[in-house]
Amino acid sequence: MKRMLWSAPILGIVIACAPAAGFAAEGNVPLKHPNITMDQKTLREGLQVFVDVCMGCHSAKYVTYGDLMRYPEIALPRQQVDDLRGNKSLLDGLTTDLTPADAKVSYGKVPPDLSVITRSRQGADYVYSILTGFAHDPEGRIPDGHYNIYFPGNNIAMPDPLTWFQHDPADEKSIEEQARSVSSFLAFISEPHQLQRESLGRYVIAFLVLLTAVLWWLKREIWKDVQH
């Protein structure tokens, strides 16, 4: 055992570095931590917010209308999918009608596709924080509606989509809930098989722990022959 001790500090440092590295990447304001859930109710509400609000400008092209029926976590009934898609095919992705050229004229840039947005940014917490992070610029440089506490550099091209800025305090709960459900929805579509992955993983790991225990037992039994 003692002779292996030297590897311990190395491993220790490697492990200690890992999470530290994650934080060091952005180093901005700490994000809000909403309760991200992937139950059917939240995901369907999030989908509704996505279609009603986000899809005005953003797409999620890797998610098709058919997927909304197919993924068991959402399992939207056919009738509702037909209502959502209008004359689009089930094979079409959730894409916006805003053309890139028009978007450039209106917002100065093309809004990013949101299919994997929670993976390319810092998770659902980041999306939620952005959606509820519009404020008045304390230094007065950035116009209202484009100042965001959580956006790197604070100047975001996206106009406050849920009108969080200057919202009526009575509506705060409802806006927070919209932001939460759409963040959950985006986290889900960024990796639609994540729940299956986690549940399957538990069985796989349990099996491997069992197998390893048997192998350890076998190894100990066989090595009884060897004299030291």
């Binding site: 002779r3 292996m4 030297w6 590897s7 500090p9 190395i10 440092i13 490697v14 570095c17 890992a18 999470p19 590295a21 994650g22 060091a24 990447a25 952005e26 180093g27 797409s59 092209k61 890797y62 997927d67 992705g93 894409t95 093309v110 990013p112 596709d113 299919s115 994997v116 993976r119 390319s120 940014r121 810092q122 790197p152 960024s190 990796e191 639609p192 098989h193 992955r197 986690e198 399957l200 993983g201 538990r202 796989v204 790991i205 491997l208 722990v209 197998l211 390893t212 192998l215 350890w216 076998l218 190894k219 066989i222 090595w223 022959d225 060897v226 030291h228």
Partner: protein, 404 residues
């Protein structure tokens, strides 16, 4: 059961024509192995396992992956789309992709541990110099394979990582520009680069398998070193089977458990195995805020950054890999294992620490403090090679045991 299989008429038929049974007996079942190997000796078999896993998962990914930078809607490309199709539409595609992505990191972790063991216990020393050299070649081929593979998802880190590293080669005097064009096949990283990197990413593992066979062959000529570094006598060796087959299998069990934890529950490895920026499609007009190679290449990246001059940085980085080849001759001591070499033990531990520190510095966003730390670690890294011949010539060693 194994005996029954080897004595079967089919096995005998094959044996008469190929000598296969004799080979299995000589190189697997009865292969004499020191009885005192510790668990650090498990990493060799684990490396083989991961190489096979990478090839298997890679072959399947290649059935669905499309190496094309042709633009599609939303700023994406065919390549990126095909990776997302694997993640979403192909049955268990996500699993195969994660096995491959986590496997790359696992492979490097295992190989680094394998190297650390070899360094610590003096496994590179006579008569195992060639074994060591082949091992360093394996590491270089692995790094090249990983570099080619990392471009394939065609995300931001793929693109900018490849840009930075091909530019590195551009710094080589005289032929730099030529190498650069050879790698890129265009004026920048583009569709031709992606196509050839895919081809090379498929080719290099085959080369790797061939070199691994050479590595194993070299091993079976000189046999395994052991923690004492003393050549074992007749009583010091045991047959490989069943003792090391079960021990290696137990190691495989432990490894697979940890591996599956990552594949199923933490596939991006806190952003170390698959970086968040690589989920943004490659964009030649916008560099990510902070580019760093994947963790297993960061020590060498740090050495590159430690020098204020481009050519010097590139030279130092090349030298840091090249020097590994010469360790068997730089170390002039007679004793192998660091257990009996107090001075060497301190040195090699400091060397390991420098690699880890360099790795951290290369991963983190650069600042003044880390720059200094990185330079100190670079000095320690090269200091190891510099002082190795001097110190080992006069070092005092502790008495060696008679046998293992």
């Amino acid at each position: 059961m194994i005996e029954r299989m080897l004595n079967s008429s089919l096995a005998q038929w094959l044996d008469e024509r190929s000598g296969i049974v004799g080979m299995i007996r000589k190189h697997v079942l009865d292969y004499p192995t020191p009885k005192n190997l510790n668990y650090m000796w498990n990493f060799g078999s684990l490396a083989m396992l991961v190489l096979l896993l990478q090839i298997l998962s890679g072959v399947f990914l290649a059935m669905f992956y499309k190496p094309s930078a042709m633009a599609t809607d939303g700023g994406y490309t065919m390549a990126f789309d095909s990776v997302e199709r694997i993640m979403r539409d192909v049955d268990y595609g996500w699993l195969i992709r994660y096995i491959h992505a986590v496997g790359a990191s696992a492979f490097f972790f295992i190989i680094y541990m394998h190297f650390a063991r070899g360094l610590y216990y003096g496994s590179y020393k006579k008569p195992r110099e060639l074994l060591w050299i082949v091992g360093v070649i394996i590491l270089l081929v692995m790094q090249a394979t990983a570099f080619f593979g990392y471009l394939l998802p065609w995300g931001q880190m793929s693109y900018w990582g490849a840009t930075v590293i091909t530019n590195l080669f551009g710094a080589v005097p005289v032929i730099g520009g030529f190498i650069n064009e050879l790698l890129r096949g265009g004026f920048g990283i583009g569709d031709p680069t992606l196509n050839r990197f895919f081809s090379l990413h498929y080719l290099f593992p085959m080369i790797l398998v061939a070199i691994v066979v050479a590595h194993l062959h070299a091993l079976h000529v000189v046999h395994s070193n052991n923690p004492t570094g003393v050549e074992p006598g007749k009583k010091g060796v045991i047959p490989f089977h069943p003792y090391y087959t079960v021990k290696d299998l137990f190691g495989v069990g432990v490894f697979l458990t940890v591996f599956c934890y990552f594949v199923f529950l933490n596939p991006t490895g806190w952003g170390l195995f698959i970086e968040p920026d690589n989920f943004s499609p490659a964009n030649g007009f916008q560099t990510p805020a902070h580019i760093a190679p994947v963790w297993y290449l960061t020590p060498w990246y740090s050495i590159l950054r430690a020098f204020p001059d481009k050519l010097m940085g590139v030279t130092a980085m090349g030298l840091s890999m090249l020097l590994l080849f010469f360790i068997p001759w730089l170390d002039r001591g007679r004793v192998r294992s660091a257990r009996y070499r107090p001075m060497y033990r301190q040195m090699v531990l400091l060397f390991f620490l420098s690699v880890v520190v360099l790795g951290y510095c290369g991963h983190a966003a650069p600042n003044e403090l880390l720059k200094t730390v990185g330079r100190v670690a670079t000095a320690v890294y090269f200091g190891f090679f510099l002082f190795l011949p001097i110190i080992t010539k006069h070092e005092k060693t502790r008495p060696l045991p008679q046998d293992v």
